[in-house]
Amino acid sequence: MFAYIVRRMFQSVIVLLVVGLVAFSMFRFVGDPIDNMLGQERTQADIDRLRTELGLDQPFVVQYAKFLQGAVQGNFGVSYRQGRPVSTILIERAPATLELAFVSGFLAITLGIALGVFTAIRRQGIAANVIMTVSLIGVSLPTFLIGILLIYIFSVELDLLPSFGRGETVMIGSWSTGFLTASGLKALILPAITLGLYQMTLIMRLVRSEMLEVLRADYVRFARARGLSERVINFRHALKNTLVPVITITGLQLGSIIAFAIITETVFQWPGVGLLFINAIQFVDIPVMAAYLMLISVMFVTINLIVDLLYYAIDPRLRVDARAT
């Protein structure tokens, strides 16, 4: 077990290094940062000088090595756009994304499980089929369009919710939270729905199909034969057994919530890391792009590792496998 973890950790570090290398080899294709940093009256000499100062004239491997050298010491460089350390900016922006991801993840899981159970129990019912179909609308239109439509309906036409931003935030230490003010909570609603809709549909479908399988399993039939009430069967026996795959898949989806946040944050001008990343692409802010990608890959690699370890703990058959490989 210990050897397995160590080996996986080692592999994870290699994954991180490769992510960085791939990222740096490709940044020059994103665009040229120089034009955003100089005004209209720049000369070719200014362009060349700035390029040298930023080290952009060097091969990407050298740039990457420099980045790694700093990153090891916790220094991710300085944003081209903001002229501030990237780590400061990321710490500033992270709470917004994490709070949004938390709320939409929470919505997705609770609603997803509840609706999944309902549609499984009432498989042939009209309500269940309507829910199944309507929930698909959420995944049949692009996220940006759903976001814009929600803004149009709830902020412009009904004037109920704010159209952009995070509302008022309160600082708790270095963490800015929107949970403690009315405007902060209101501002969360539309982006959280936009972001959570896709995950909710996914979890709901997953719970439903797992439930359907479990409900036909022998032990549930026996339970029914024993005369246990439907409620006890559905919730104590069936639901409990569907949750294991649901939890693992949901864990993996946590990563994609943060990845999907890019679009949602752009539409709602939500001041998180996703918006920061889109801005970084727009202005070819290489230090920010590099740090963001490293951060995301650390997250994915960690989640993957945890999920694999969970499998390992839950499913004894895989233990043999792990030992064999």
Binding site: V15, V19, F29, L136, L141, P142, F144, R216, V301, N304
Partner: protein
């Protein structure tokens, strides 16, 4: 003579009848949702294929466009040219109906090709990973990790950039569509690989595979002849849902500035252009393409749902 006629006639008929009587077809016939959804898909696919015959205009030919036709509302004559368009025109004076038909072609082409490509990459890598195990499996699954790290949008932008750097100038115009296909496929293959690997790991230890191995069959025949058919049903389900996702992903990429060229818009590009007119009153530029995309993606997703249930032996 008559006998041969009979047999040639009856053989396919009986095969069709057999299929008609199968569980699969039975469950299809008894699911109104599946029937309606597949009808919608068939109609949309046919409309896309025969777009040049159906569409009253060719919106991809700039020489036929008249800018003064721009922003004509559906079914009302244009103030300058007095021309009337069924679903109105967009900002360039393109007939929205024709543009949707042509855009559908591009979206379907991009979606289907991207999913096929992702499926081929994912299935092959997943099978190899499961069958050989060891360092090969580790390598493949860690590549999958790297892939998951890059948001699809960034992958697309990077591939766009690289393709621009390496293709000769004169081919760049046609390039955009293929770049989209590769970008979407590259961000999509991982789930195929994961599912196939998971399913194949289970199959691999079953008796029939052991038996095949014992009689000395090679690795690749075992993988593709024996294991593959048995892991295909989850792949099919994912492929269906991925198709809808790929078409939407293409729209999202277009929103972020990397998509089909505006002179040959896909459904997604049309929606991106149309959302700019949400507040200005020209609702038809957004509404009709969005409805078409919704109908297509919803139907494909519903088919995927039905397929998931129908192919799951435990639910029969």
């Amino acid at each position: 003579m008559t006998d041969t006629m009979e047999t040639t006639k009856s053989a396919p008929k009986s095969r069709l009848a057999k299929f008609w009587d199968s569980d699969f077809a039975w469950s299809f016939r008894h699911s109104p949702v599946a029937v309606i959804a597949s009808l919608v898909v068939v109609v949309l696919v046919l409309a896309a294929i025969f777009a040049p015959l159906i569409a009253p205009y060719n919106p991809f030919d700039p020489a036929t466009l008249n800018l003064m036709n721009g922003f004509t509302p559906p079914g009302t004559p244009n103030a300058f040219t007095q021309e009337t368009f069924l679903l109105g025109t967009d900002d360039q004076g393109r007939d929205v109906f024709s543009t949707i038909l042509y855009g559908l072609r591009i979206s379907l082409f991009v979606g289907v090709s991207a999913v096929l490509l992702a499926l081929i990459i994912g299935v092959i890598l997943g099978l190899i990973a499961a069958y050989f195990g060891g360092w090969i499996e580790t390598l493949i699954m860690r590549i999958a990790d790297v892939q998951l790290t890059f948001p699809a949008i960034l992958v697309a932008m990077l591939i766009f950039g690289i393709a621009k750097g390496i293709t000769p100038p004169e081919y760049r115009d046609e390039m955009a569509i293929y770049v989209l296909i590769i970008a979407i496929a590259l961000s999509d293959w991982v789930q195929f690989a994961r599912v196939v690997r998971g399913a194949a790991l289970v199959e691999k230890n079953k008796e029939y595979v052991q038996a095949a191995r014992l009689i000395g069959r090679g690795s690749f025949p075992i993988m593709f002849r024996h294991i593959l058919p048995n892991v295909l049903s989850p792949v099919l389900v994912i492929a269906t849902i991925s198709l809808a996702l790929a078409i939407i992903a293409e729209a999202t990429l277009s929103f972020l500035g990397v998509g089909a060229p505006p002179t040959q818009p896909s459904l997604g590009t049309l929606i991106r252009i149309g959302q700019g007119f949400l507040f200005s009153g020209e609702w038809w530029i957004l509404f009709f393409p969005a409805c078409t995309l919704l109908a297509l993606a919803l139907s494909v997703n519903l088919l995927g749902d039905w397929l998931r249930d129908a192919l799951n032996p435990k639910l029969r």
